[in-house]
């Protein structure tokens, strides 16, 4: 690990200013992803601003009947919240499908949204990676790509976003709230939070330097049957090959988003019109334009079958 200095911020704007004022400074929340990457010298911050004392650890109702989740609410506390389990079950299920009990106890809502890809070439500092070292090339294209993206990828990067939580948030139309070093705030729809890789795969969010996530808001509950189906190489504690977050209504309509297939949670609202006609129609529209590698072409039929399993669960409920 490279040497760094450390401070604890007292409030959100102070934290944003502290990070913005020093090149190479980073926020530290739970640390479960950042410290791992620092040990590998993939992340080499020169200064850490620990945000654990700035509040933002509550889940509160919003004026329009939704919930506001503080940025520092742990994954365990979010999945366990009575209102989340009751009204936003897909989010609770997505969270407990990811990581381990120990990690969920420390990992935060904001940190989960900012976690970096688990592409093996991103982790291997001996190999070119456009995400880790812009312009160096992509080792995954033509390499071992079994775990990697099949849609929305580019000639520069085929990494996936590893988060389960974010797939649940995407299907719920969550909004990410931030504060900038000048004290101004903004609300970013989750759909726009993670850009596609294009020719700048090292840019993984739309956040500007020093901009701090303060919370995530959920619109008022939409009802329906909530399900998260995750397919992976182990029964537990593994990243998704394919996952499906679904909210399905009694009339067969609903919403779906996929994890494990793209650089961001993958949802195509227009595909959802086909929900009553079944998984094949939905998957065809959802994955139109997919460009899989030979190693991961299996994800296309796997996504359709996982979607079918989720829809069947909805019918049985």
């Amino acid at each position: 690990m490279k040497a760094f200095t450390y401070e604890r911020a007292k409030d959100p704007v102070g934290a944003a200013r502290a990070v913005a004022s020093q090149s190479g400074a980073k926020f530290l929340a739970g640390g479960t992803n950042l410290l791992d990457l620092m040990k590998l010298q993939i992340e080499t911050p020169v200064h850490l601003v620990d945000v654990q004392d700035i509040g933002l650890d509550k889940i509160e109702p919003t004026a329009d009947g939704g919930l506001r989740i503080g940025a520092l609410v742990t994954n365990t506390d979010l999945a366990s919240d009575r209102r989340v389990r009751r009204d936003y079950g897909v989010l609770s299920r997505a969270i407990v499908a990811g990581a381990s009990g120990q990690l969920r106890n420390k990992a935060t809502t904001a940190g989960n949204l900012l976690q970096r890809t688990r592409c093996p070439y991103f982790y291997d500092t001996n190999m070119p990676c456009n995400k880790r070292k812009p312009g160096s090339g992509c080792s995954a294209i033509g390499g071992f790509s079994r775990q990697l993206a099949v849609i929305g990828s580019s000639d520069h990067c085929i990494a996936t976003n590893p988060s389960d939580m974010a797939v649940g948030l995407r299907v719920l139309d969550a909004t990410v709230e931030t504060v900038k070093p000048d004290g101004s705030t903004r609300a970013i729809p989750i759909a726009e939070f993670h850009p596609l890789p294009g020719d700048t795969p090292h840019i993984e969010t739309v956040l500007t330097p020093g901009e701090l996530i303060t919370g995530v808001t959920l619109p008022k509950p939409i009802g329906g049957f909530h399900h998260y189906e995750k397919v992976r190489d182990r029964a537990s504690y593994a990243f998704a090959l394919v996952s499906v977050a679904a909210v399905i209504h009694k009339d067969g309509s609903g919403r779906v988003a996929l994890g494990g297939v793209a650089h961001k949670p993958w949802r195509v609202e227009a595909a959802e019109a086909a929900m009553p006609r079944g998984a094949k129609d939905v998957a065809g529209r959802l994955l139109a334009g997919a460009r899989p590698m030979p190693d991961n072409a299996f994800k296309i039929p796997l996504a359709e079958r996982t979607l079918a399993a989720a829809i069947d669960q909805g019918k049985a409920a």
Binding site: M1, K2, T5, L28, T32, L48, A79, S80, S100, G101
Partner: protein, 211 residues
Amino acid sequence: MSDTNDLGISRRGVLASGAATAVIAAAPGAAATADPGRAAPPTMAVSFKVNGEAHALTVDTRTTLLDALREHLHLTGTKKGCDHGQCGACTVLVNGTRINSCLSLALQHEGDEVTTIEGLGTPDRLHPMQAAFVKHDGYQCGYCTPGQICSAVAMLDEIKRGVPSHVQSDVTARPSLTNAELRERMSGNICRCGAYSNIAEAITEVAGAGA
């Protein structure tokens, strides 16, 4: 008295100094502290309680909670397995909650109460989970055992508090300790020897006794 004892060197001491030499040889950053042309790495003070006892340390900012416990406080019951949050050998309780101590800086724990395997029980007064692991032979080499036991104790508390799991068919219902639940909730602790079925029996016995 053996020659080894005359020299005041224990097997553990030889291993530790060998490891330290290897680290210095492999990490130019560590050796650089002796280089007058480069600044020494930053250090900071931190205070927390471990097993009820208050400690005040000054550490290199990079020091993980795991390394603070093992290398500064010499509580070597907590093990370093992968050092990347993948194996669970470093699991300790912080303010009653289980975490991977390898993925946490010591500085993040100012004012916290840490419980390690040494604080759960002693050889003379075993914690019920420790006794159950002995009874059911819940290990072979024993390296993952402190993490397994700390994790299991906290996991049972999570079930009591209603923390949901991936294998629950209804996340709004109160969880119960079935074998499937236990295996899912303990999936962050890997046992290379594969003593899983005995570990499951030990935990099940303790959960039954506590219910």
